[in-house]
């Protein structure tokens, strides 16, 4: 998959201090498992997103390691506590130099 594939994050723009916010992250990626063959019998090399990290004002709050068992166009829904206003950064790192970064701002009152 090309490095220009899209990634998208859904985060509430506002939240009450101390409340649990739900974050949905999705990437457009084939997640080629490395176990499939072409019709001519050639093994298709693995090409997956391996690591997803979420940092909240530069503090890591969530991380996930993906393996070939994650489906195409990986989706992950997780939660975090709204502690302060600031920026959330989401980073996807994968095979073949794949890297994508998303940022979202949150206002905590």
């Amino acid at each position: 998959m090309s490095k220009t594939s899209r990634t998208s994050i859904t985060v509430p723009a506002q939240a009450k201090k101390g409340s649990i916010i739900e974050i949905r992250a999705i990437a457009q990626h084939d997640m080629e498992s490395g176990f499939r063959y072409t019709e001519s019998g050639k093994l298709i090399p693995r090409d997956i997103i391996r690591v997803f990290t979420c940092t909240y004002n530069n503090v890591e709050v969530f991380k996930a390691d993906f393996y070939a068992g994650i489906g195409a166009n990986p989706l992950i829904i997780f939660t975090t506590l709204a502690v302060e206003s600031g920026e959330l950064e989401f980073k996807w790192v994968g095979d073949d130099g794949y890297e994508a970064v998303n940022r979202a701002r949150i206002t905590v009152s």
Partner: protein, 162 residues
């Protein structure tokens, strides 16, 4: 008249025989190929051992939800939640998902913190076969808890041709 009827009949019969032969080839192919690719439950147990480092795993606290019957193993919605207060002193450190019938037993590992609020995740996974899937939660005190779910997969992922 009889000849005219006979000729299409024989062709049809021949085609059918050919088709049956083809099906046979596919059946033999299906029989042999997954065995070489799919992991065995022992691999899954080895993967679990690598996660826990040989520590005992207790049953409970972990709830894993996957549909009991899956039509297409390529995209299966998987939900996992762990009973935990998620405070600074008592939280879930990591959740590991392991499947016994996938080529790679590990599906994903999520690392949580006390700032996660609750230990609940949703993602979409691939399942190569009808199998048992485990969710193992690692607590901050070093204990391990597990939950599992069994599913029937009609169309498997991973092994199909492109």
């Amino acid at each position: 008249m009889r000849m005219k009827f006979n000729i299409p009949f024989t062709i049809k019969r021949r085609q059918w025989l050919k088709r049956i032969q083809d099906l046979g080839c596919i059946a033999v192919g299906v029989w042999f190929s997954p065995g070489t690719v799919l992991a065995k439950p022992e691999d899954a147990h080895a993967a679990i051992k690598a996660i826990t480092g040989g520590a005992a795993i207790k049953e409970g606290r972990v709830k894993l939800i996957i549909p009991p019957l899956v039509e297409n193993g390529n995209l299966v919605v998987l939900k996992v939640s762990v009973e935990s207060p998620m405070t600074v002193n008592n939280y879930v450190k990591a959740i590991h998902i392991v499947a016994e019938g996938n080529p790679v037993p590990n599906i994903f590992t999520a690392y949580l913190t006390s700032r996660s609020g609750k230990a609940s995740l949703t993602t979409r996974v691939r399942l190569a076969d009808s199998q048992l899937v485990w969710a193992i939660a690692q607590m901050n005190d070093g204990s391990f808890w597990q939950g599992s779910a069994e599913t029937l997969v009609t169309l498997s992922a991973c092994t199909e041709m492109v």
